[in-house]
Amino acid sequence: MADYRLQIVTHQRTVFDKDVTSVTMPGEEGYFGVMANHAPIIAVLKEGNVDIRIGKKTQRVWISGGFFEMESNRGTLLTDRLTGIDIPEDEEDQP
């Protein structure tokens, strides 16, 4: 199955930048999934779980809300806070 590039960017840093098969996320009017070759979309996301599928593996992260954009097979998820991804703990997290 075709993959596409997904970037997850927070206030602090880019936390995720990998090829993914599909992503399911919490839109304001309910969960929806995006696979490769999706039409250009911009969606407002609310608080909830995001399931990132890479091949047959699924990774679940929680986001505090944000935005999703997809355009010519490049997905970008902007969020304020998220948990669940192994973020390299930064010693200089917040002053």
Binding site: R13, E28, E92
Partner: protein, 288 residues
């Protein structure tokens, strides 16, 4: 010219102490600089992403109709002025103050919200009637509460027609050695400012907007504005500490130069004193 040996020794000692202080301050600033520079560098991609998004969105929909893109008929122009709370950072605040003076002289209606003690003290003394509000003692905190509150306040007042336009004046961080005052448009938003090229504008993308175009704008624009204030504050802190690091580095070097020239003088004076003493003894012995 018998120099006072004791006074010289005292001066050398006190300069040595000053050097220790300036070196310590330099190192503290270097550490803080790294911290804020890291925050700044990692926030920039986030802002750029939102900006790209807004840019493309502005083309494909009727974004320009949104009130945040409109220049209101009423109100007066506002400048949000970023300075530091503390001094000892070279000409950092002086450059900013020079620039704000120029802007204030240019437009008699312009009013200022100031952040930082140095800027506030200056405005309070010279343009008290032009200063709308001041925020001091943020203490280098950068957790988003102040910046979000500030951004929301600006947006509300702008939409209420209090301000006709809002600009940010802050020290733009070019490199550790260089930062210069920069004036940047904040509101109303200009599609041109999103960095959309001519080429791109011809091929607007037909986005699906979920749930509705209005909702997307409603969510995206405030976030963009908040991030912008956040980044501006981070940049102000970064530039401040870079300036202070350079200033303290120079001060440390000065102490070294001064110390070595004073040591030289001390040694000369000591030798002169010894020579005089020997001459006195010798001539005393000859006289016998």
């Amino acid at each position: 010219m018998p120099e006072n040996l004791k006074a010289l020794r005292n001066r050398i000692r006190s300069i040595g102490k000053t050097k220790k202080i300036t070196r310590a301050m330099e190192m503290v600033s270097a550490a803080k600089l790294r911290k804020y520079e890291g925050v700044m560098k990692s926030t920039r991609p986030f802002l750029n992403k939102i900006q790209e998004l807004l840019g493309r969105l502005a083309l494909s929909t009727g974004a320009q109709e949104h009130p945040l893109f409109q220049r209101p008929e009423t109100g007066y122009p506002l400048l949000v002025f970023f300075t530091s709370d503390k001094g000892l950072c070279g000409a950092f605040n002086a450059h900013l103050i020079k620039r704000v003076t120029r802007e204030l002289e240019k437009d008699p209606h312009l009013r200022v919200i100031v952040m930082g003690r140095k800027g506030r003290d200056f405005l309070r003394r010279h343009y008290p009637e032009r200063m709308e509000d001041s925020h001091v003692d943020l203490g280098g905190r950068l957790d988003g509460t102040w910046t979000d509150a500030m951004a929301n306040h600006l947006q509300e007042q702008f939409l209420a027609g209090v301000y006709s336009r809002i600009e940010l004046l802050y020290p733009h961080f070019v490199s550790t050695a260089v930062n210069r005052p920069m004036l940047q448009r904040y509101l109303p938003l200009e599609p041109a400012a999103f960095g959309v090229s001519e080429e791109e504008s011809s091929q607007a993308i037909d986005y699906i907007l979920e749930p509705t175009p209005e909702r997307v704008f409603e969510a995206l624009l405030p976030r963009f504005l908040q991030t912008k204030v956040f980044l501006t504050l981070a940049e102000t802190y970064t530039s401040e500490h870079a300036s202070r690091m350079m200033a303290m580095n120079n001060a440390t070097k000065n102490c070294e130069d001064l110390g070595s020239s004073l040591t030289l003088r001390l040694n000369k004076a000591r030798q002169a004193a010894i020579t005089t003493e020997i001459i006195e003894i010798v001539s005393g012995a000859e006289a016998l």
